[in-house]
């Protein structure tokens, strides 16, 4: 079964294609989409087991030798992310059943979600820089469709912005890859990691490294390049927003983590310090937004930007604690963002608005929702037994061990702001005088709440049982910090 690592990419691709054949049979669409994601999840868990026991898995497509064919590489880092992605897509599909609406389901909603999953899983697994571009385009195409899906006024306006920004950044991506190819003559990431240290012109390579930071920064929404995100993410309906918030920016973060640990390590003093400064500015910019808005969606959207900054700060330190913390925090953040969007989505449906000022007093009528939200809010802020804590602790430790100790202080201080912004939703929506609410069918409420509660429960398990997951995370860190392991696995003679 040498092709095992392709299954998390192939299963959603095939299922999405099959779903294109009968767009109007909703029951079949739901069933097959659900079965497909469960199968993907099972395959990705088996992949983690396999990588953990047998080491890094590599397939070079078409039986060509390694630097010439496209290599697909699955180390624990990418396998963990693939599993997290599959888990989130499964919950998004479950959450879509009661919320997305018949009309949208009939116009290729599930195929688009599964194509997005194909792109994300592929981007996490590929070992070829141009193939990474192709998979990023696959997920972007699917996201273009999803962001404009339904064709409401606001969605159309925001999808134009989103399209423009992403087309420009994709063109820049191609230009950066072209420049890298003209310098090194190869596109395989492992081969790049071998070739780059042999090149004497580190000035040019530093320029390319910064160009890649700009490209992936557009996707990941880092400090000066995040301007498109709050508006664009505000437009689509909640399950799509949860999908975007949990997955899309994380692909950019993953790409930065991969390139900045694997091959752009020739001038750490400049590139990684730049990354650290940008990460801190990203956190601050996100905090300003998270405090400024009285809109539940906007608050959580700005928390995405904060988390991107926190993760990238951990990577920029390039020490064991920092990178381990980043991986932990990345996985935690993907799950908790999806869970928070789910919960906030229920709140917005109950009140019929996402404006905090028009909410109040839900605690009496929906206590379970309130307590679940509180746990998730504490999780995102990193209160000890919950999932945000171990990652952030290690990132802060990495900062104190590394050159940018002041960054750790900023992260600690801004955690309070994150907590404040998340708890403010709780105070406004769940405490105070009850406000008139829209009638919500009990079955629909339950169908929305159950996936959210399970996802929050999984994050709690991830936080409380962090010690259980540590061996996997440590293995992932080891590969990131020792590129030679990655290179040997791909270019085995």
């Amino acid at each position: 079964m040498s092709n095992l690592l392709l299954f998390p990419i192939l299963i959603p691709l095939i299922v999405a294609t099959v779903l294109m054949l009968f767009p109007n049979k909703i029951k079949m669409q739901r069933m097959i989409a659900l079965i497909g994601t469960i199968a993907t999840l099972a395959a990705s868990f088996f992949l983690i087991y396999k990588v953990f026991n047998d080491g890094i898995q590599v397939v070079t497509l078409g039986s060509w030798p390694a630097p010439f064919g496209i290599s697909m590489v699955s180390d624990l880092f990418s396998a963990l992310l693939v599993a997290t992605t599959s888990l989130i897509v499964l919950f998004v599909i479950l959450y879509s059943f009661p919320t997305i609406g018949l009309k949208r389901e009939q116009s290729f909603y599930y195929p688009a979600v599964l194509f997005l999953m194909t792109g994300v899983n592929g981007a996490f697994t590929t070992g070829d820089i141009f193939n990474l571009f192709v998979f990023v385009e696959v997920l972007l195409m699917a996201s273009y469709m999803l962001i404009s899906h339904g064709g409401q006024r606001q969605q159309l306006r925001e999808s134009i912005k989103y399209l423009l920004v992403n087309i420009i950044s994709s063109a820049l991506f191609v230009a950066s890859v072209a420049l890298l190819y003209s310098v090194t003559g190869t596109l395989n990431m492992a081969d790049l990691a071998v070739k780059i240290p042999q090149i004497e012109d580190t000035g040019l390579l530093t320029v390319i490294a910064v160009m890649f930071l700009v490209v992936f920064g557009f996707k990941a929404a880092i400090f000066p390049l995040y301007f498109w995100l709050p508006g664009s993410y505000h437009a689509p309906p909640m399950p799509i927003l949860a999908l975007f918030g949990a997955l899309l920016t994380k692909v950019g973060v993953y790409a930065i983590m991969r390139t900045y640990t694997l091959f752009f390590t020739m001038n750490i003093g400049f590139t990684h310090e730049l990354l650290a400064i940008i990460a801190i500015l990203t956190i601050l910019a996100g905090c300003v937004g998270a405090l400024a808005y009285f809109d539940v969606k906007k608050i959580i959207i700005y928390n995405i930007i904060i988390a991107v900054g926190v993760i990238l700060f951990g990577v920029s330190q390039m020490n064991e604690a920092g990178v381990t913390g980043s991986i932990l925090y990345l996985i935690h953040d993907m799950m908790i963002k999806a869970a928070l969007f789910f919960l906030v989505g229920i709140v917005a449906v109950i009140f019929g608005t996402s404006n905090l000022r028009q909410m109040g007093g839900l605690m009496k009528t929906y206590p379970l929702l309130g307590w679940t939200y509180l746990v998730a809010a504490f999780g995102i802020a990193g209160i000890p037994p919950l999932s945000g804590f171990p990652g952030k602790l290690l990132i802060v430790q990495g900062g104190f061990e590394g050159p940018q100790f002041w960054g750790s202080i900023v992260i600690l201080a801004t955690s309070l702001i994150v907590l404040l912004s998340a708890v403010r939703i709780f105070i406004y929506a769940f405490w105070g005088e009850p406000v008139e609410t829209k009638p919500l069918k009990k079955s629909a409420y339950r169908a929305m709440l159950i996936p959210s509660i399970i996802l929050v429960a999984i994050t709690v398990v991830f936080g409380v049982g962090a010690e259980l997951f540590m061996p996997f995370i440590m293995d992932a860190t080891e590969v990131l910090l020792n590129p030679s392991l990655y290179i040997e696995a791909v270019l085995k003679e």
């Binding site: 192939l10 691709l13 294609t17 099959v18 767009p23 078409g62 039986s63």
Partner: protein
């Protein structure tokens, strides 16, 4: 005033077949000379578009009752199936195979599984471009 388009219609009847033959030629030539599934698909589409210009979208729909969304899905499935067939033989994904066959009319011909993949590409290209043209053309 009703315009007279006898010239256009008569020319189209002849030219369409020439374009279609050329599309097939380009498609099969792809392995050894310039050409392949993508350009072959585009040429086929251009033939159908010419028919649409001359005879109108509804007439073409009647003579070619194809659901182009399904067509592109089928093409995608063919492409994925060709690539995935290698999984059954437990070799890396996308490994192709070829052999020589004695065909009745062509003599000894080498057939390569990349051809099947190209058939998939061809169908996807025709399906996608026709979907685009039809949806825009029918939009009021």
């Amino acid at each position: 005033m009703k315009t007279n388009d006898v010239m256009l219609k008569t020319a189209t009847k002849v030219v369409t077949f020439i374009i279609l033959m050329f599309a097939v030629h380009i498609f099969f030539a792809g392995h050894y000379t310039p050409g392949g599934g993508f350009i072959g698909g585009l040429l086929t589409t251009s033939a159908i578009v010419l028919l649409m210009l001359a005879f109108g979208i509804d007439t073409v729909k009647k003579i070619l009752p194809i659901n182009y969304v399904v067509l592109s899905a089928v093409g995608l499935l063919i492409a994925i199936a060709t690539a995935s067939a290698s999984i059954v033989f437990d070799v890396p994904f996308f490994t192709h195979a070829y052999d020589y066959f004695d065909l009745p009319l062509f003599g000894e011909t080498s057939l390569h599984s990349a051809l099947l993949f190209d058939v998939g590409v061809y169908l996807v290209v025709v399906g996608v471009t026709m979907t685009i043209i039809q949806t825009i053309g029918e939009d009021e």
